[in-house]
């Protein structure tokens, strides 16, 4: 297909020189990430001290964009919020917060209330801490507060703000009698990673097989689980930077060491398990046994794709638009395990500048000497322009990228936020099982166009109207 010049019509008529902001960013704000993280805790209810509209819009933006996930009881659309208007901005919103907290305590039941604040109150300087402290003194409720003004960062930053607040304000000192080998997991942001729960479940399953129990994981933890998380022997951060500040604070406060291993997909999982096992001093024989059995199952399932893969040549030049965690995880899997040819990666989560080199190194360290083009960019327009130049033949990205995929006439699978063309509840792409699910999803998309392949195959064999002939055959 010929390349279409320019990308002005793809999404917005604005040209680069006129755009001072990011077009189609693939995250919401710090408050959005913080809210999603709190929604993912059992029995926790957020109380949002922010402008009218913040929590509702963030709920819809963050969660609907994450494969239409929803959260119930005093969460999601029902999240208690102070819904500030102009007079609160001018005269301060402290009184309104007190009122909302009292009302929320009266009509909802929670194990934990989490007071989160938005941009406006941070600008006007409402003294939230004093208000929360006064409620805390009554000891009627467990309350945590953290200032999460949207302008302080994106969803990923909000996740760590909540994480640090929990470490600071909820986690209790370790119990010396605890002898269970256990870990906590950090770095997977609920509803920002659409497959968050599925991913965590798979990582937990594998760690359990090694005899390691997982405490605070991000998968619907109870307050009690989080409180006792300091008994963990190790904190595992599953991202290059998300969760690092939480793990670091955890280490400072409770002395729990942490390691970082980017979300493993496919055979990377074996390396991941070995590193975790080594850090925890787990018997090598057990580790080998677990990895062997997992790999065997993984290979058996992968093997059943062999004929289809080879017979119809499913190898594609793959473009990926995803956050750094997924970019690294997906590209490694696609290149090293699945035999695809990754040609383009846009890392879209605005990772801190100091880890850009690490991200590039991770992505460029592929087997078979594959060197995809990498851009670290959150602006949709810039990503699409670069993608157009690169012109892969398959795209793993989000729903924002439908139009560019259509324009380039290439198949696409939604794997990164925002995803509005799939419903995602249990699905995960991490680990061994997740990687097989990912293969199923990718190949299913490729098979949608398989009639074209069949047409051309039949045409080569002399059929004049291949589609109709084929229809008669079946």
């Amino acid at each position: 297909m010929s390349k279409t010049p320019g990308s002005r019509n793809i999404h917005s008529p604005l040209t680069e020189s006129r755009v001072a902001c990011t077009i189609s960013p693939r995250f919401t704000c710090a408050l959005g990430g913080a809210l999603a993280t709190v929604w993912g805790i059992v029995g926790a209810i957020p109380i949002v001290h922010s402008s009218a509209g913040c929590s509702r819009n963030l709920y819809m933006g963050q969660c609907f964009g994450s494969g239409w996930q929803t959260f119930g009881h005093a969460r999601g659309l029902m999240t208690p919020s102070t819904s500030l208007v102009e007079k609160h901005v001018i005269f301060g919103g402290e009184g309104r917060l007190v009122q909302q907290m009292k009302a929320s305590f009266e009509i909802t039941e929670a194990d934990l209330y989490f007071v989160l604040s938005g941009c406006q109150v941070a600008l006007i300087g409402d003294d939230i801490r004093t208000i929360v402290d006064q409620f805390k003194e009554r000891k009627d409720q467990t309350i945590i507060m953290v200032e999460t003004p949207g302008f302080k960062g994106n969803s990923y930053a909000g996740y760590d703000m909540v994480g640090r607040a929990l470490v600071e304000q909820l986690v209790e000192p370790p119990d010396e009698n605890d002898e269970q080998i256990s870990v906590n997991l950090f770095g997977i942001v609920p509803a920002q990673d659409p497959f968050w729960q599925g991913n965590i479940i798979e990582i937990k399953r594998l760690l359990n097989r090694l005899g390691v129990s997982v405490r605070w994981s991000g998968d619907y933890d109870t307050i009690d689980t989080i409180k006792k998380s300091s008994n963990a022997d190790l904190n595992i951060v599953l991202s290059e930077y998300v969760g690092v500040s939480t793990a670091e604070l955890f280490k400072q406060k409770f002395g729990v060491p942490w390691i970082k291993y980017n979300l493993p997909i496919g055979s990377e999982t074996s390396k991941f398990l070995r590193i975790v096992a080594e850090a925890l001093g787990i018997d090598r024989e057990l580790v080998d046994l677990v990895i062997d059995s997992e790999e065997e199952q993984f290979l058996k399932q992968l093997d059943r794709l062999g004929h289809l893969y080879a017979g119809f040549n499913l190898q594609r030049d793959i473009g990926v638009i995803a956050d750094s965690t997924y970019s690294i995880g997906l590209i490694k899997f696609l290149a090293n395990d699945f035999g695809m040819n990754p040609t383009f990666v846009a890392v879209s989560d605005e990772p801190p500048a100091e880890i850009h080199d690490t991200i590039r190194k991770e992505i460029l360290g592929l087997d078979y000497g594959l060197k995809p083009q990498i851009i670290i960019e959150s602006d949709g327009n810039k990503i699409w322009r670069a993608l157009e130049e690169s012109h892969p033949t398959f795209l793993l990205a989000g729903s924002f990228d439908k139009r560019i995929a259509d324009r380039l006439d290439i198949p696409r699978l939604s794997v990164s936020y925002p995803i509005t063309d799939r419903v995602i509840l249990s699905r995960g792409y991490a680990g061994y099982r997740g990687s097989i699910t990912l293969i199923e999803d990718i190949v299913t998309v490729l098979m949608k166009d398989m009639h074209l392949v069949i047409d051309s195959t039949l045409a080569r064999h002399g059929y004049k109207k291949p589609a109709e002939q084929f229809a008669k055959v079946i």
Binding site: E86, V89, I90, F91, G92, E94, L123, G125
Partner: protein
């Protein structure tokens, strides 16, 4: 008097004498037959006190806070000499956003068509201190005021605030914002005060509309809740304010000031402190930052 409303804004460091000066200008202009509206843009809401016998009036933002329907008579109150008094109001110190308060108050005045209803000839905005944020730049930015004056003494911090105001004016000057009418030199009792302000004016390519001395008459009148023109109409000070008001109303020239950048401002201040320490320029040897009585 004239078809077009003369709209001016008066800025300056807190405590420098803005409200005193503004109220006296308002009364002086009303003596000349102008219908004057004075709008206090300061959460302290005491700009118009000396026009109302020392009493506070309900503010524009009080109406916003109460949530009741706004009636013009709730926010416009007649003061001495028929001066129409309005106070924007704002939050308690340390709470909320005073800057947003100014923006909202001015919006309310516009929505309520206060200027159309009362048809003043002159509107004077008395604006809090420094141009610290967008809210306090509102009268400059939104073309509410056509001409801006700054009240300053020879005190370095007051000059710093005036210089900041000049930066604000310069910033908005390309977009039809208000321009500078001039400097009102306040508390000028000695040559050194005058020399310092004159030099600052020269450096910033601005002009001085009047020199106003510090006077006990002002303090005495204010203690009685009165402007000088009301409390001591025949005093020398009252005549100075009359002259100032006349200069302002007749001043058709506005210009873009040339504020000193922070490095140059510091150098300029150093130059004067060195000169003062050496006891030159008729100084009594005091540092220029002292306010002399």
């Amino acid at each position: 008097m004239s078809d077009e409303i003369k709209q001016i804004a008066i800025y300056g460091k807190g405590g420098i004498g803005k409200s005193t000066t503004t109220s006296n200008i308002s009364v002086a202009l009303s003596e000349l037959g102008y219908k004057v509206m004075q709008v206090g843009c300061d959460p302290k809401s005491d700009s118009t006190n000396t026009l109302r016998g020392g009493a506070f009036i309900p503010t524009v933002l009080d109406t916003l806070r109460s949530g009741k329907a706004i009636k013009p008579e709730d926010i416009v109150h007649e003061g001495y000499g028929g001066v129409l008094c309005v106070e924007a109001g704002g939050p308690e110190p340390g709470v909320g956003c005073a800057g947003r308060g100014i923006i909202s108050a001015v919006d309310i005045l516009k929505q309520q068509k206060i200027y159309d209803i009362y048809k003043p000839d002159v509107i004077i905005y008395d604006v809090l201190g420094d141009v610290v944020c967008g809210g306090f730049a509102m009268p400059i930015r939104e073309q509410l005021a056509k001409q801006v004056y700054t009240v300053t003494s020879s005190d370095f911090m007051a000059i710093y605030a005036a210089n900041n105001l000049f930066k604000g004016i310069r910033k908005y000057s390309n977009n039809g914002g208000a321009l500078l009418g001039g400097i009102i030199a306040n508390s000028v009792n000695k040559d050194i005060h005058k020399n310092i302000i004159d030099d600052f004016s020269k450096e910033t390519k601005t002009k001085i509309v009047e020199y106003v001395p510090r006077s006990l008459t002002v303090a005495k009148c204010e203690l009685k809740g009165k402007s000088v023109l009301e409390g001591a109409p025949k005093s020398k000070q009252a005549n100075i304010y009359r002259k100032l008001a006349k200069n302002i109303i007749e001043n058709g020239h506005s210009h873009i000031p040339a504020p000193l950048e922070s490095g140059s401002l510091q150098q300029w201040a150093d130059k004067w402190s060195n000169r003062l320490l050496k006891g030159n320029n008729g100084s009594n040897g005091n540092n220029g930052n002292n306010r002399n009585n």
